[in-house]
Symmetry: C2
Subunit: 288 residues, 2 copies
């Protein structure tokens, strides 16, 4: 099964390398062509002239770009090169609606689309330990297992087109709220002059335990917030969540509160810090 990768950014490039390691990568394409030529040279694969040219070379096309419009634009650009039986996997974090539109655009061509957003960050992309949340046809999910297994560790099929994105959005909402809870509680603990390492250890053993407490509260304690997961990117993802809820006439309080906090962080020049930087805002509450 030959694969081609479109979008060689911070996530895409290491994912393409893992496909190369698995022996399936045949072609790459990137908006910035120099980056594609460089990686193609390094891996000894084809730097395709266009998305359509890449499509002609491979069986499975993998996309990892930034925004909803980019995904739909790539789908259009692929169309002239597609043939019946191919599969397009989109690893971008976009709305479930975009996934459904992409699937609907490709279905008449006999090409299967799956939304396959990931969590696990750059380390996950590099170490092939991503969690992959898939939406689309179950038989297609089975077909592309070898491809997904070379990229991630937890592979879950959530249902029809869009449900991978819905699961990813659920994840981003949860992380947003947990991060705010941990930050507010840690700022309170600091204001009470508690030893923060003991707070992290003790609370991490009970009902307040979370991945974020164990792995990110230490950033708060050191007041240093290396990414991690950037405020700017989480904010972008939460805008997707907001739009998906708004499509049902709903405003989500946790999402709105986090977006407001992230706006303040970005304005303050902290948009490229890890989201644990919300601690800055919470600690400020206690400063005279």
């Amino acid at each position: 099964m030959h694969t081609g990768f479109i979008g060689l950014g911070a996530m895409g490039a290491p994912m393409a390398r893992n496909l190369h390691r698995a022996g399936t990568l045949k072609a790459v394409w990137n908006r910035n062509a120099a980056k594609a030529r460089e990686l193609a040279h390094e891996l000894g694969c084809v730097a395709a002239e266009s998305p359509a040219a890449l499509a002609r070379e491979v069986d499975v096309i993998l996309i990892c770009v930034s925004a909803d419009a980019d995904v739909l634009e790539m789908i259009e650009a692929l169309v002239p090169g597609l043939r019946r039986g191919q599969v397009v996997l989109d690893f971008s974090t976009v709305s479930a609606d975009t996934a459904r539109r992409a699937a609907a655009r490709l279905a008449p061509l006999g090409v299967e689309f799956m939304d396959t957003p990931v969590s696990g960050g750059v380390e996950g992309a590099r170490n092939a330990t991503l969690a992959i949340m898939a939406g689309g046809d179950a038989a297609t999910f089975a077909t592309v297992q070898p491809v997904l297994q070379s990229l991630g560790r937890t592979l879950t099929h959530f249902g029809p087109h869009g449900s991978g994105q819905a699961a990813k959005a659920t994840n981003q909402i949860m992380v947003a709220g947990v991060a705010r809870a941990v930050a507010e509680a840690m700022a309170f603990a600091q204001s009470q002059a508690l030893p923060l390492d003991q707070v992290i250890a003790t609370l991490g053993g009970g009902a307040a335990a979370s991945w974020f407490l164990t792995n990110r509260a230490p950033f708060m304690q050191r007041r240093s917030f290396p990414p991690g997961f950037r405020v700017r990117l989480h904010s972008k993802d939460l805008l997707i969540c907001r739009a998906m809820a708004a499509a049902r006439g709903v405003t989500l309080p946790v999402v709105e509160a986090s977006l407001a906090d992230y706006d303040r962080l970005i304005e303050g020049g902290w948009g490229d810090e890890d989201i644990s930087a919300i601690f800055r805002l919470k600690a400020q509450l206690f400063e005279p």
Copy 2:
């Protein structure tokens, strides 16, 4: 080391039983005397006539009551029976300020006070697996180790009087925010028709992981919220957190949002459900 227990409620009664198992329990007292007589009969210990009478019988006095005023009232009631060298341990969840006042009242009598609030709920009390968060004198903490070990598993000394309560308040703030995050995300997932068991399993393996997701999101999936930790009690604890923050001129957004949610749950007749019942409010957002 002889112990006496004051306050034989849902937490206090099983804790007293664990002291009995450890062979230290000599006397009990309860506002409702019948309850004390019953337990004393069962365990073969003294049902003291008064808190002061209980104090005369024992070396370490353990208190587990409901509110700040109850703790200070018990301290006053103990005074006539106290003698130099005794220790009073207060397991109630109250404000750090109350702990400091209790300590200051007893210090001139040569009696050491420690605030020792717990987490782990009724199961923790029964199985002696409570997390105990202690504030007070370090030497006293060492002295009462055998007593604490017969009640809990994680024993942490956080610092001077009041810091046990401050750690407990930190815990309650964190749990409040995590619970809201999990509930909002799960309601969103449900609105997207995702298979909730797969959401719980997949998200529980990544950055969104929390004790609450693993242990309480299944309640949301079943839409059944057996306590657990009652809305009413968490609301009471968050009022303590609010007051402790207000004493520093601070309003905590996560605390306020949770208190507002809990008020609505209590009004709706769900105050005795587990706090995962916030899912009711979040799911309502998506109902037409």
